[in-house]
Structures are given as C-alpha cells and as structure tokens.
C-alpha cells in the first residue's frame, strides 16, 4: 500500500508505526454538582497549570517552538476565554465542559477564518486536551514512548509535542492533517525531522505496521517487500555517509565547478554556513537592518553590520541584495501606501528608486565595507522588470564604487529579455520563488494555490533556460538563489539550464553537493531537456527521474537499489569564481 502526502526535506526512514493516542472524548454536558464559584476555581487552577507547563516546555525547546508555546500559554490564560468560561459556568456546567465549549467556540471561529488562522486551530485543540486531562487528573496527551525507535503517526502534532520530539527514538513523522505552512512542517524543517504531512489516508496505518517514509518522493510505503526495504536502508546509509563525508567545493562528476553558496538573512548564520561548506554567500538579505525601524539606519550603522558578515568570508564571493521592501515586507519609510495587489506594486527596486537616497546610502555602506574587507562583494537589485531598470541600478552601483552589480530575475519580463538585461548587468541571480509566483500567477502565501507554486513547472524552467543561455552567450554568471536550488535533483536540472552557481539555506548544501557529483554537464543538460519537454511540474519531475536512473551509473536516492557512492577524482576549484 502506498500513501501520498507532502514530503518535508529529503530524508528516508524505515521502521514500525506507533500512533499517537486518540484525543480524549468530549466531556459530558451534565449539570455540575458544585457551585459555579467552585467550578471556576477548578478551571482557573487547571488553565494556570497548563499555561505554566506550556511555558516551561517552550523554555526547553527554544527557537521557533518557544514563540508558539508562549502563544498557547497566553491562550490558556486569555481574559476573553476566562469571561466565556465564567458565563458557561453560570449556566451550571462543569469546569471540563465549560473550558471545552469555550475553546471549541474559538477553534471553530479560526477554522471559519481559513488560511493561517485555520492552521492555528490545532493549537487551541491542544490547549483544550491539556486542560481537560488536567481537570480529570490524567497525564497530558503526548508522544508515546514504546522504548524502541518508531515512526510517529498522528492527526497533527501540537507544537508542544513537535518541539520536544526525541530524535533518538522518533525516526520520522507522518501526519494526516497540516499543510506545508503548518507548525509541524515548519518545525520538522527546522529540526531536520524526516516528515510527510497531509497524508489523508494515514488513518489506515496501524501500530507496529512496518513502513518506509520517503519524504523526498512524498510517499509512505506500508508493508514494503525485501527489495524496497533494502533500497530504503541503502538510501538511509548513503545519506548518513553524505552527512559525514568530507566537504568539497561543489562540482559535477566531470569536474565542472558549480560553487555552492548560502542564503543568509543576517551575519549570525555565517559561521554555521561556512562549517557546512558554503563557498560564499549567494543571497545576503539586508531587510533585517531595516525592519522595525521607522527610519533607515545610517551609512555607518549599515557598514558595521556588513563588515561583520564579510569577515566570515575572506576571499569569497558575497552577493548582497539591496533592500527588498514592499508587498510581503513593507517598511513604513519606503512605502506605506495601501495597495490592492502588493506583490504587483511598488516593491523591490521600484520602491528603492522612489527613495533613491536610501538606495545610495546602502550602496555606499556596502562599497565602504567591501573596501575594508577581503571578501568580494557583488550587489544585486530585487524585482527588476526592465532593461532600463537594470541600467539604472548597475550604473548607480558602479558610480558608488561597487564593481560587480547585477539583477535578480524574478519577473518573467526580465527572463524573457535576459539577453538584453545581461548586456548591462554583470551577473544575474534567479529568485525561483517569485519567478514561479509570477509565471503561474499563484500567490506564494496562499495555501489554496500551493499546488501551482512548483519550480519544476516547465514554464518556469523555460524562463530559466533563457537566462542561462544569455549568460553563456555573454560570459556572465547566472546564479540561482530560490528554494529550487535546494532540491538535489532540480539543482542538476538548473545547472543543465545554464546556472553557474547555486545558493540555498546552509543545511541543504550536503544533499545538493552529493547530487551534483553524480552527473556530468552533458547529463545535466539531458535532464534539463527532459524536464523542458514535460507538460506539467509533476511529469517534469517524473521524466527527469526516469532519465537519471537510465544513466550508466544509477544515482542512488532516486528509487533505484543500492548504488555505490561514485568516486570521482578530487577537483581543484579556484577559491573564488572569477568574473569574466
């Protein structure tokens, strides 16, 4: 039996299923034998105890989980909730029933609101379960502990549970609910837990069933045969070996260097990225310097921050994106107009141009930081639509002392005219998330159109090819800095389409490095050709997998059985990409 869902990450797990206990039954709506005051006291005590427990779990978990757990604790002690509970107690209900009803009312309201709010409904369900069990004197519902490694199957995990999962015994996670933006998905990604969410038929999995959880292919295989198990085991072993393999510069099997770079949002992640083998930075977002301010930081303040990060990358390339404000990241001092379609509005370079002094200051700070460090600073403009905008930005950056200035290709018009854009820009960097959003007219933030937000779509790939070909013809580097670069197989396709470097969040580097090493440039081009011929994203992915597995040395990790890690000669890669 095979079940499908949404895979998070690239991992594979094999093991027995343990289901999370079913939720407690709904408390009976029987009249209370106590007075409303007594019941109120019980409710307050349990709500307070649950809030305290959630806070302490948050403290232990840290990171993103802490915020979620603190929010849940606040929900338990919420004044509006207390009023609602008190009103229900006055009708003679038990504390259990009153708390249950009050939280259920808020939960239903969130579900009705849809989108992000609906995904918060799980948080309230969890608070309700915890309070009702506390009132009943039962242990808080949570992750089972059978004493051996297992794959956890649940409806959805409460943040409190995901945050404290024991990664030593939980091999993987399958949920029947939750989308790609649910807490479970976000936390699984953050903690590198092998997970598949939104498996609608997960209810068919029972305790002790042996399953293969294949996040890379978004599939759960129940009752696998010996061959499937052997293949899964070899993939698990190969992945573990990759994690421990010595870090080499990114390169194809034939030695073609493909520098692997990191996406960073502040100087804080730089050391970790270097540890994971980042050969530089392909996308340094600068919004963190500006968010939360009512005015732009000074040149000196900016320069300090830039220098701090550049120090981590001596002799390396660091591609800095000019402030990308507007739409999803509004800044009061750049654009506070209310727009009907912010994604199509005054954002990116458009808003910088409207406040040119801010752009000039940022470029000046960068040029100063560049002069004061050993790193090689490249600068690029976000959201460039036209050749004229390209010239404007590149000329200004050159004028202010930055010798390498390029543009991000996120808008189809810039991809279609890449041959002209690259006449002026020193390089291009393709932001696949926005390019996909604009090509398929599908809002990145909207779960209901998430199926269209797939960079494997041949229309997106065709646009990338335009940029790749223009780069090759003009001898200009073409980087990729969207999430597409973090998909190990798609990364090879992107190289086949003409990408000369790939930038991603640092934890993805290991898998992408290993994947690139399995294919030659000629093979990458064949894979790209196969993807371009498909009609849909899904069939493009399938076609590429089929072609890849037909190559003489079958790449492991793509569904074939135990293939040894290819041993290619160590290549000497120049320490930095030289601009032609």
């Amino acid at each position: 039996m095979e079940l499908s869902g949404i895979g998070i990450g690239q991992g594979v797990a094999l093991g027995p299923v343990i289901r999370m206990a079913d939720p407690l039954p709904e408390p009976l709506d029987a009249p209370s034998g106590r007075t409303p005051a007594e019941e109120g006291e019980r409710a307050r005590a349990s709500l307070g105890a649950v809030a305290a427990d959630l806070l302490s779990r948050g403290e232990r978990a840290g990171g993103a989980a802490r915020d979620v757990l603190e929010a849940q604790a606040m929900m338990a002690e919420d004044p509006t909730l207390q009023e609602d509970v008190t009103a229900r107690l006055a009708e003679g209900k038990t504390a259990e029933r009153a708390v249950f009803e009050a939280l259920a009312a808020f939960r239903d309201m969130l579900v009705e609101m849809g989108g992000y709010m609906a995904e918060r409904a799980t948080d309230l369900d969890d608070v309700s379960q915890r309070v009702v069990s506390h009132l009943a004197g039962l242990p808080a519902p949570g992750v089972p502990d059978p004493g051996y490694p297992f794959i956890l199957v649940a409806r959805d995990l409460a943040p409190a549970d995901t945050a404290l999962l024991d990664l030593g015994t939980v091999l993987g996670l399958v949920t029947s609910e939750g989308g790609p933006t649910s807490h479970t998905a976000i936390l699984a990604r953050e903690k590198s837990i092998v997970a598949i969410v939104g498996v609608a038929d997960a209810g068919r999995l029972v305790d002790e069933d042996e399953i293969i959880l294949d996040a890379e292919n978004s599939v759960v295989v129940s009752g696998p045969n010996a061959a499937q198990k052997a293949a899964a085991e070899s993939r698990i072993a190969a992945r573990a070996a990759r994690q421990n393999a010595p870090i080499r510069p990114g390169a194809l099997a034939d030695g073609t260097p493909i520098p692997l770079l990191a996406n960073l949002g502040s100087a804080d992640g730089a050391a970790r990225a270097v540890e994971l083998g980042a050969e530089g930075v392909g996308l340094f977002r600068t919004e963190f310097l500006f968010l939360g301010s009512t005015s732009a930081p000074t040149v000196t303040q900016q320069q300090e921050q830039y220098e701090r990060m550049l120090r981590e990358f001596p002799g390396r390339k660091v591609v800095v994106r000019a402030l990308d404000a507007g739409a999803d990241k509004p800044l009061a001092f750049l654009n506070d107009a209310d727009e009907e379609n912010p994604a199509l509005g005054l954002r990116g370079l458009r808003s910088l141009r409207a406040s040119e002094d801010i752009l000039r200051e940022q470029l000046t700070a960068l040029a100063n930081a560049n002069a004061a460090s050993d790193a090689d600073v490249w600068v690029m403009a976000p959201m460039v639509a036209t050749v004229e905008e390209t010239r404007y930005f590149v000329d200004l950056a050159h004028e202010l002392g930055l010798k390498t200035a390029g543009v991000m290709v996120e808008i189809p018009s810039a991809a279609l005219l890449a041959d002209r854009v690259l006449q002026h820009a020193d390089f291009a960097s393709i932001g696949t998330n926005d390019l996909t959003q604009y090509t398929l007219a599908a809002d990145r933030m909207l779960g209901t159109v998430a199926n269209l937000q797939d960079p494997w779509h041949p229309a997106v790939l065709r646009l990338i090819r335009e940029v790749g070909e223009a780069g090759a013809a003009l001898g200009k580097p073409v980087g990729i800095c969207g999430e597409a670069a973090a998909d190990p197989l798609l990364a090879v396709v992107l190289v086949g389409l003409g990408a000369t470097s790939l930038s991603m969040s640092a934890p993805a580097l290991v898998d992408v490095r290993a994947s690139l090493a399995r294919f030659t440039l000629a093979q990458a081009r064949q894979l790209a050709a196969a993807a371009l011929q498909a009609d849909e994203a899904a069939s493009a992915r399938e076609a590429v997998k089929a072609v890849a597995s037909a190559f003489p040395e079958p790449p492991e990790g793509l569904g074939s059985s135990a293939a040894p890690e290819p041993t290619e000669p160590q290549q000497t890669i120049p320490p930095r990409e030289v601009l032609k």
Partner: protein, 88 residues
Amino acid sequence: MVERTVRIGSTHGLHARPAKIFTQAAAASGAGVTLTKTGGKTVNAASILGVISLGIDHGDEVTLAVDGGNADAVLEELVDLLVRDHDE
C-alpha cells in the same frame, strides 16, 4: 483616552507570533487597551484570542485606544509593534 488608526505592517497579519508579541505588550502596559478593526468589532488588546479573532491581515486598518496613566507612551509603543513586520 488617546487613540490612533494605523495599518498593519506584519506580512501575515496579526496571527500567532505577531499577535502574541502585541498582546503581551498590551497586557504588560497595565493600561486599558482596545483594538478595533475598521468596519469590525472592538476587542480587549490584552486578549490574544480576541486579537486573532479579528482576522487582521497585512495592510488592514485598525484603531488602537489606550486609557489610563501614561497612555501616550503606551500608545506609541503599541503602534510601533503594529506597523512593524515581525515575519522578516
């Protein structure tokens, strides 16, 4: 009482994390604070459930009203949280 009408800066509106940060600050201020979504209802700003029940999205217009001592400073602080983007 002092009040001001502003637009929400947070990318995903006032959902879990931004709502938490805002409500925590409102509760900690000790003042009586209400939040009204333009064209919608008014809630206690110290109630996270009340705040998220308004379904406030990025760019929505809301009115913040503060009653009590030091109302002007509290208003400044809370307005700053509303117009800021907590989601990067």
